[in-house]
Point group: C2
Chain length 284, copies 2
């Protein structure tokens, strides 16, 4: 077979993201995975990558293929390396099925420590009727060539930035003040988003997309870590090929917590995913 | 003891809502409850009432008192009558603890049928710092005496409306077109909200407040049933005494599903709760 040309885009199912989220079924509902160090940021494994890993295990366990709504509570910080997922069917219906999954790693004594617990309802996006009656409009985005990625400047965050090598991330300059020492004060972050190897988006990679931008907290002027407590994603439509636009908004920072809402729009101007997370603000 | 005057407001802990959400611990993590028929609408037990019932069981099971984020997946339709709740601690931390709970009822053979499963992280609202850096603004609401409740007109919905006797609900006339046969087409619903017996709001009753208004689908022009698939509530602040303002928004109806976002504002103009649900549209 000829070698792929260097401009060949990775296909869905045969990309870095697919290899790094692949789970191996050890027994019914029990899956092994080696969490890749390639999806870390600062010292943590990215929460969207972890959600995609759990989403794959649930897709294997449940009779329906696509996460319609998935809620994750993040319990302890995951590390690159071996992990086991235990997934169960909660209920099976004709249109929707519901499942639960937990990801565990091991402490120094070899005991299982739970990292994340997830509840999700799955369906089949391709079986949905085509009706769309929406008032949602895509946010205004500058063209991609007027946006900036990590490769366009000095790394503004200390620590690992491995995940940035795996993403095509082009930030709207109006939400980039934080990287220049002048955060806007507004809780907004917007970016064109894709996978670096050109793999198109699918419902599973949308779980990554909602949690892959710099946190809105940076633009609010907070420089500390913002660990996710809980993240819920609704996947509303199979995304069209091409880059996504991801828009994050925080309206309420109070009592040391903030919400971060994400909208993901595809190249056909459809709202393909919505998410909200509750995160803690750890002031440096 | 003298009888209470008829204008006495029910106190938190001694109101109809408190009595109807009270769970009885049968064993550690196992609670009995008789679901009240007083919180039904059409043929279903209200999803917010059910969430409050599960929230009470979790408050008893976990070391922290208040639901910071609670995600419920609704599996089968609950009926008034006996139910059992099984609750477990997932993880205990200093600031937050995480728990899981399920509500079961019984089929004709007496077998348990799971109605709802919940994952939640609890904390202590009173222990949070006072910092507020928010850009969220309360939505415009007409004064309460310019809003309308179920008692102001003929019941627009067929079936049980028992829950309306337990609520103080005054709808913004600009979101009342559906009741007059002229829905606005906008996915909005706004109401002043309280409990009919005058009990003030607390974190538990906020779980009811986010799911107690007529669905936004009515204003979109859909008259069918809109069952909740999943509902996640963030409680952000202990509400001040006095009526609440609840604002619902739906932006995206597609493929037979819609999201419904709720904001709850207290009398001190603080955003005390945010929620989002994914619901199915059942076209008549």
């Amino acid at each position: 077979m000829p070698e792929a040309a260097s401009d060949t885009r990775a296909a869905i199912g045969d990309s870095e993201f697919d290899r790094d989220t692949a789970v191996t079924r050890r027994a019914p509902g029990v899956y092994d995975i080696d969490l890749s160090a390639g999806w870390t940021i600062i010292s943590a494994v990215n929460g969207g990558y972890l959600l995609a890993v759990l989403g794959r295990a649930l897709a294997d366990t449940l009779p329906h293929p696509d996460p319609f709504t998935i809620s994750a509570h993040y319990l302890t910080a995951s590390q690159p390396g071996p992990a086991v997922i235990r997934a169960d069917v909660v209920r099976t219906g004709r249109t929707l099925s519901t499942g639960q999954a937990s990801l565990f790693q091991y402490d120094e004594q070899g005991a299982e420590v739970e990292r994340i617990r997830v509840l999700a309802s799955y369906g089949d996006l391709d079986a949905l009727p085509d009706d769309v009656r929406t008032t949602a409009k895509p946010p205004a985005f500058p063209p991609m060539d007027q946006c900036f990625g990590p490769e366009d400047g000095p790394a503004p965050v200390e620590g690992s930035s491995a995940i940035t090598d795996r993403l095509m991330l082009k930030l709207d300059p109006s939400t980039l003040g934080w990287a220049l020492g002048a955060p806007s004060g507004k809780g907004e972050m917007r970016a064109w988003f894709g996978l670096a190897d050109g793999r198109d988006a699918d419902p599973l990679s949308l779980l990554l997309a909602v949690d892959a931008l710099p946190p809105t907290a940076f633009e609010i002027g907070l420089s500390g870590w913002v660990p996710t407590v809980e993240l819920t994603v609704h996947v509303r439509c199979r995304p069209a090929p091409g880059p996504l636009r991801v828009s994050l908004t925080t309206r309420n920072l109070a009592g040391g917590f903030l919400e971060e809402d994400a909208e993901v729009w595809d190249s056909a101007d459809r709202l393909v995913a919505q998410s909200r997370q509750l995160a803690r603000v750890r002031l440096g």
